[in-house]
Each structure stands twice: as C-alpha cells, then as structure tokens.
Symmetry: C2
C-alpha cells in the first residue's frame, strides 16, 4: 500500500527515523555505561518495545499496570512500573504479573510498600522496589531528608520486595540546552545530598534511575545515575525540537491530514483536530500553535477544534481543497494515545500497520 | 456492582442527571418548535443516542463518517454529518451509508457537492445537503455574500442531492449569559442578511440548522433557526458551568480518581491525568485548572501530567492516600473520547457499563 491510499487523518511513523532515534539513544547509553529502560507510554506499541529491547534496552518502563499487562502479553519480561499502585484489584494484578515476569515498582510511600509486601508474600512472589525521591518536579517522591531515608530503609527490609535502589523524575528540566545546563547543576546538588543521606544510613542503591527525553543525551552529567527512562526520543515532537533535543528531521511520527475546507479567507481547515493531535500546548516558550506543519511554508496551525485543525494561510499560499499535509504534534505521547493504529512507512510506501495495543490502558 | 468496586480512573455517568439533561433539552425544543438533532460527538455511545431519539430528537449529528457508521450499525437511521467529506474512500462510504439510512451532509464547497452528487448518482442513492455558512466563527462555511448564495443555488440543482437548507455553527458564542446576549444580536444581523440574500435568489431553506451547547436554551432567540445540534448538554462540564449554562449539579459525567501519592507537601496526586481528562483548558475566563474537584473543598487540580493529576492541597485538608474523589472535566467531549467504557450509576450502584463505540473513529 502507498501512503496516498491511507485514509486521513492518520499517524505515520517513518521507519528510518525511528530506527535512527532508537540507535542514537542505545549507542549513547552503551558509550556512557547507562542502562536504558525506555518509557513505553510514548508509543504503547509492543513492536516498538521489542525493537528497543533488540537495540539493547534492558527492559521497559510503563506508567500503568494495564500497560505492563499488554507488554507482558507481547513477551516483554522485565518491566518497571513508575507509578504508585493503589487498590486491591491492582495489588492482585501486580502479583499476578510478578508470577509471569520480572516486575518492579517505583514507590514513595511506606504504606504502599507494606501492602505490596503483604500481597507479594501471600502470592509467594517477589516484586522489585525502587524508592522514588522528589528532586524538584514536585509531583511524586519523598522529600530529600533524613525521615525519607528512614522510610527507604524500612521498605528495604520488607519481605518479598527485591530492593533495587532509587528513582527520580527530573520533569522540571525541560528548557533549552543552556537552561538545562544550569538546571542539571541544581539537580546534582540535590542528588549529592540524597547520596550522602543514603550513604550515612548504609543503604545501598545499585540502581539510580532518572532521565527524561529533553535531557536524555546529557544523562551522564547527572551524578550517579545508572539507568535512564526516556520515552519521547523514539518519535520526538515539537516539544523536543523546542528543547533543542531534536530537529524536525528527527521527528519520526507525523499526522497526515487533508485540507477539507478553504471557504473562510486566509484559513484552511484540516481533518485533524484535538481528537487526533491532542490539545496539548507547547511546554515552554510562547506556547502558540498546536503542531508544526511540514511542507508548504508559512502555514500555522493556529487553533484546534475537536475534529478541525485551523490553519492560518498567508496570502501567497496556494493550498487547495484535498491537499495532504503532515503535522508534527506538539506532544506525541497523548497523540499516539488517541490512535487505534499507526502506519510504519518508508518514503511513499506503507510497510506495516501497527496496533497501539496499550492505548487507553488507564488502570 | 457498587462504585467502590470500580477500578480507577473511570468515567461515571449519573443516570438521573443524564435523564434530566435529556428531558430539559427535549422539552425546550418541543416548547419552542425547534427540531433537536443532538451532536453525538460528546458521548459517542449508541445507548445515549437512542435515549436522545426516544426523548424526541429527530435524528442525530456526527462529525465523522466513521461515527455515522457506528450509529447506523446501532440502528439510528437519520444522521447529519456536519463535516466536509473529502476522499474517494469516504465518498464511497457515504453512498454506502445512504443505501442504509437517511443521511445528509453539511458542506461549504461546490467541488465537494458536485463530487458527492456524482458518486450518489453512480450509486443510485440520495444524499441530503445543507450548505454551511460562516456567521462569525471563521472555521468552515461560505462567506455571507452574493457569490455564496450563487454557489448554494448551483448545489441545490445538482442531481441526487436532497436540498434541505442551510447550516451554521456559532462557535464564537461562548461567554457568560450577558456576553452571549450581545453576541446573539450580532449573529442575528448576520442571519438576517443571509436570509435576504437567499430570499432574493428565491432559494428555499426549510432547514436552518444552528446551535451549540452554551446558547442551546437560548436558540429561539436566533432568528429563523429551525433545528439545533447541541452536544455537551447531555453531560455538561466545567466549560458549560463557566458559561452559566449549567450548574455542577447538572454535570452528569465525572471522573472517579484515587489519591495515589501525598509525599510532596501541599500536593496530592490522583490517578487521572491528561490521558484521562484531556489536557483541554477552559475556553474562557482565567483558563486555570484542569477540572473541578467535587467533594473535599479547597482542592484545586492545578496541573496534569499524562497519568497524574496534580492537586494543590490546603494546609487544613486531610486528604489521604487511597481517598477517592470525583472531578468534573473542563471539556467532557475529549475526555469521553479517551475512554473505552463508561459506567452508568445511580447513587453508589453501578447500573450498566456502556462501551464508547464511537471512540477513536477519526475517519
């Protein structure tokens, strides 16, 4: 099948770009002796998770148990859930997974750790544990203080939990390269403080898991990090370009859309709105526009309705009804999460159709 | 099943509130002699579409052909697609639908009309047509001028198209009641101008289809409107409350979420982020917060990650790990579009589980 036979809107994945992105990250990790445990929330596609493993990822990261189940069903056998797990049915599902695969959980609560320990003991399984610390993003994670280290020590002693180390998510590090430079310095002072607290308490931390996509290729500059969990790097998006962590040539995923209306002057409407691209604004900068239009220059995706993308069209532009354009989404993760399928392409050729098997796995 | 057995996050639909919302709109339309043709993009659930028909809706509105197909499969036999249809496979699907049900399309282009006429002739079917005019939203629709009326006249003469009238979408009318008051005046001047142009050309317009949710119960104040297509009214959301078109007691759909982390001071994290609520900001006003938290007062949904809702928690609040809260989303349409299923509830009882059969039907 050729691309022009695909009904729009549709997500296209450029095979060569995907492959290059996968190689770049895995070569980087190999060169810097970092474990790569990619966050598969970005793609939710088992085929891509398997490519990541093939290219040297040690295992994968997921946000939700239901995503772990999808990936385990596809044969991935080493998964970290970087999300606090709460609820009887979830603890039950977690121990069921632990019977099938090597599974670990990042957690920031003694209560959750004790509960999982109890469930794991009853089920006679082992669940890996990383204690999550908050190094500045202010979302999850224990504060960097003595009492937290005491909690970590108690978690470490719980039965049927396999102590792996610590985890953090530097989500606040997302500016341009120069901004990140300073942010990483701040982060390192926090990490150093955490290590001294842990060392003083004689708590080992074989795994120090950190990393995000904008700063992924600078991960060696974070003190003590042994493992990174970047997600977006497989595809990249307007946010990663904005963060100077990729160029548009590195953006493997685009939304193919058709111009369906040109009746309003200086306006063209494409058949991809927020139900296709997601309504996510840019994370930094002016936060204007809802994606980057490849192709005809000067077109700006000014606004989104649910099914309409509103393009501002300069006078000079000769865009016509039925024209097809490609858009790099602001944020590729929620965009992929809206798709049932994506198309792997090479040039004009469609190589494969992949099901987004982890889509909508919210639990 | 009781609500406390539902795994979170999940969308709950309060049966009584849904019923009241459906009745209110249908009573209003009956009282004002308006045809009700609800836009089902909000719920994408055939069971609700059937309730709308039961309560007197003449037929339904959809945005995409794939949504029409889902609703036709469920037995709905009168559907208007208010979206320009472009592409061979789509024209083919449209005529296939026209063989099964009464289908009409809003369009703003002579080229699309001629093409659909040709396809309908070949397939020996009839497709209803409404010409779309732009009354100020600036998205789709022909401009309010003589040349557009000439296009409408040519469309009216095309074979195998059933002329129904005109259509507009006053999407710009979305402020509070007082703001809307003035906006409707402006809109009426435009509509009057359109009617004089159409009258001068002796073009009949038995259907004048307009309406949106914020102004739905003021539809009788729009000159000449015969049919309205509100969507959000079935559930309502923070946007409709903000527009003084509903209260929180009228919001039938809420997201049930669990507090999964309280480790960061003055912060609680719930298991519903932008992949559950959508990241849509409010349409008007300060545009702050990503939903309205029912229940414990003082909790504000300050930020969303993909799977985390970031609650700001005042000092006084005693929110605890494992607590369940309900959130009214800013915009219910993209939220429902993220769900595979929703739960119909009454008090603490789960009455039914409904599949969101039209979810992800982007084509």
């Amino acid at each position: 099948m050729k691309i022009d036979q695909i009904e729009t809107p549709a997500v296209l994945i450029e095979a060569d770009t995907l492959d290059r992105n996968l190689r770049t990250m895995s070569d980087y990790c190999l060169g810097r002796h970092l474990s790569l445990r990619p966050h598969t929330k970005t793609h939710k596609i088992p085929e891509i998770a398997k490519l990541q493993i093939k290219y040297g990822a040690r295992g994968i990261t997921v946000a939700k148990l239901a995503e772990a189940e999808v990936m385990a069903d596809a044969g991935i056998d080493d998964i970290v859930v970087v999300y606090p797990i709460w609820g009887e049915s979830k603890w039950n599902r977690l121990t069921a997974l632990a019977k099938r695969i090597r599974i670990s959980v990042a957690m920031d609560s003694l209560l959750i750790a004790e509960t999982i320990s109890k469930w794991a003991s009853l089920a006679e399984v082992e669940v890996g544990v990383r204690v999550e610390f908050d190094t500045g993003f202010g979302r999850c994670g224990l504060p960097l203080e003595q009492s937290s280290v005491e909690i970590a020590d108690r978690i470490r002693a719980l039965p049927n939990l396999r102590w792996e180390g610590i985890s953090f998510y530097p989500g606040q590090i997302m500016g341009t390269r120069a901004i990140r430079e300073k942010d990483i310095e701040v982060e390192n002072r926090k990490l150093d403080r955490l290590y001294s607290l842990l060392d003083a308490a004689a708590i080992p931390y074989p795994v120090v898991s950190g990393g995000n996509t904008p700063a992924a290729l600078e991960s060696h500059r974070f003190h003590g990090v042994t493992e990174i969990r970047p997600g977006t790097y497989v595809f990249n998006d307007r946010n990663t370009v904005d963060a100077e962590a990729a160029t548009y040539a590195d953006c493997a995923a685009t939304v193919l859309a058709t111009v369906v209306s040109t009746s309003v002057p200086h306006r063209a409407i494409i058949d991809a709105g927020s139900k296709m691209l997601s309504g996510d604004q840019l994370l930094t900068g002016e936060r204007r526009h809802f994606g980057y239009v490849l192709g005809p220059p000067g077109l700006e995706l000014e606004d989104l309705s649910e099914e309409h993308g509103h393009l501002a069209v300069p006078e000079s532009n000769s865009i016509r009804l039925g024209d097809r354009i490609r858009v790099v989404p602001n944020h590729i993760c929620p965009c992929i999460n809206l798709q049932d399928r994506v198309y792997l392409i090479s040039g004009e050729q469609v190589l494969e159709e992949w099901r987004v098997a982890g889509r909508g796995k919210v639990n």
